[in-house]
């Protein structure tokens, strides 16, 4: 069973309990900033009256996980994409690659690490909901099994189509994400990226990397062959040189 969140923007009142709970659950330093940083892993923003949460989407096939050279980011079977600060070398490829712009860095630290929502992996492992879902007073953030949350999202759109934009954000973006969102206004107006491809991004590089073993074999044989042919030409030429001298 893979868990996730459903954030319904129309039910959000912008109270910030989610940010507060996240800080507490993850032992993050105050204050709660007005945008996500390495120290503030989720915020709720007011965009022209509509509320939108910023947090990690915990993709089904995470780009960050695929690009990390030391596998510091990993997708767990339960759903959360977790980060091991002990492995991280600080290359920041995850920050560069994430199509949602989620991971953030501790630019002010001499020994910096990445910071992002980890879907309360520790709490989830104990059977608890995420901190943000646990404290949300309106149920705008719901925690549960991903499949049922997706069904619930679609049900809400079908039941009250005037209330929502007909799009479940995260259903298809980047191959599908564990965190889903509903909103009353187009997601682009809420500052969400709408140019995220439907195909999981890791495939773009796996297409190339998967061919490396065969490439090494072919290229190696080719180079060896060229060396052998040209060397033979040189040897033949050296062998024939005295004969050519004699013929002159």
């Amino acid at each position: 069973m893979s868990v996730g969140l459903l954030f319904d923007s129309t039910r959000c009142i912008g109270c910030g309990a989610c940010s507060a709970a996240c800080k507490e659950a993850n032992d993050l330093p105050l204050p709660i900033e007005d945008h996500t940083t390495a120290y503030t892993w989720t915020v709720v923003e007011d965009v022209g009256g509509a509320k939108i949460r910023r947090l990690c989407f915990h993709c089904a096939e995470p780009t960050c996980v695929s690009v990390c050279p030391v596998a510091a980011l990993q997708k767990t079977a339960a759903g959360p994409v977790v980060y091991d600060p002990q492995r991280c070398i600080g290359c920041r490829y995850c920050i560069m690659a994430c199509p949602f712009g989620v991971p953030k860095y501790q630019w002010d630290q001499p020994v910096p690490i990445v910071g992002k929502c980890i879907l309360c992996a520790g709490r989830v492992a104990q059977g608890l909901p995420t901190a943000c879902a646990a404290v949300c007073p309106t149920g705008a953030t719901l925690f549960g099994e991903h499949g049922s949350l997706l069904r619930e999202a679609r049900k809400r759109i079908a039941a009250t189509p005037d209330r929502y934009v007909d799009h479940v954000y995260g259903a298809n973006e980047a191959g599908g994400t564990s965190v889903l969102m509903l909103a009353a206004v187009p997601f682009a107006e809420l500052g969400m990226k709408t140019d995220v491809p439907r195909q999981p991004l890791p495939l773009l590089t796996w297409n190339v990397l998967s061919k490396i073993p065969s490439f090494v074999g072919v290229w190696g044989v080719l180079l060896l062959g060229i060396h052998w042919i040209t060397k033979r030409r040189e040897e033949v030429s050296a062998y024939e040189a005295p004969q050519r001298e004699k013929e002159r």
Binding site: I13, G16, A20, A21, E24, A25, P31, V135, P137, T138
Partner: protein
């Protein structure tokens, strides 16, 4: 049971009185419910504030203290972050609050300093009373 909404010829039946009372009660209930500050307009999100928090009395305490979110949240501008998590944890209950902490500006004392709100030494019954809203 057939109900006469407009009793004719002055006959005020038992049923019609009961119905009128029900309607009156329903109207008052709806008005009160609609007046809840955090859900003023129709279709607005239904807000479930956390239940009242009761702090059991320790020795020397004049009585338990009941903290009401319903009262305090509007005073904090409907923003949970006004108190959480800087002053109080949000995921687990605060076990104990001492007067020493509050006088130092921590916990309740951050607002109940005698200026922003009543001070903790002013009136014992204000907090330790029966738990009624001020």
């Amino acid at each position: 049971m057939r109900v006469a909404y407009f009793p004719s010829r002055g006959v005020c039946t038992m049923e019609s009185r009961t119905l009128l009372c029900c309607l009156l009660f329903a109207f008052v209930f709806a008005a009160t419910w609609g007046a809840t500050p955090l859900a003023a307009e129709e279709g607005a999100p239904e807000v479930r504030l956390p239940a009242d928090v009761t702090y059991r009395s320790a020795e020397n305490s004049p009585g338990p203290v009941v903290f009401s979110h319903t009262v305090h949240v509007p005073l904090a501008g409907d923003r949970c972050v006004a108190c959480h998590p800087a002053l109080f944890p949000i995921l687990r209950p605060t076990e104990k609050i001492t007067h020493a902490e509050m006088s130092a500006g921590k916990k309740c004392g951050a607002c109940h300093d005698g200026v922003a709100a009543s001070g903790v030494e002013d009136d014992c019954a204000h907090c330790h009373g029966s738990g009624e809203k001020p």
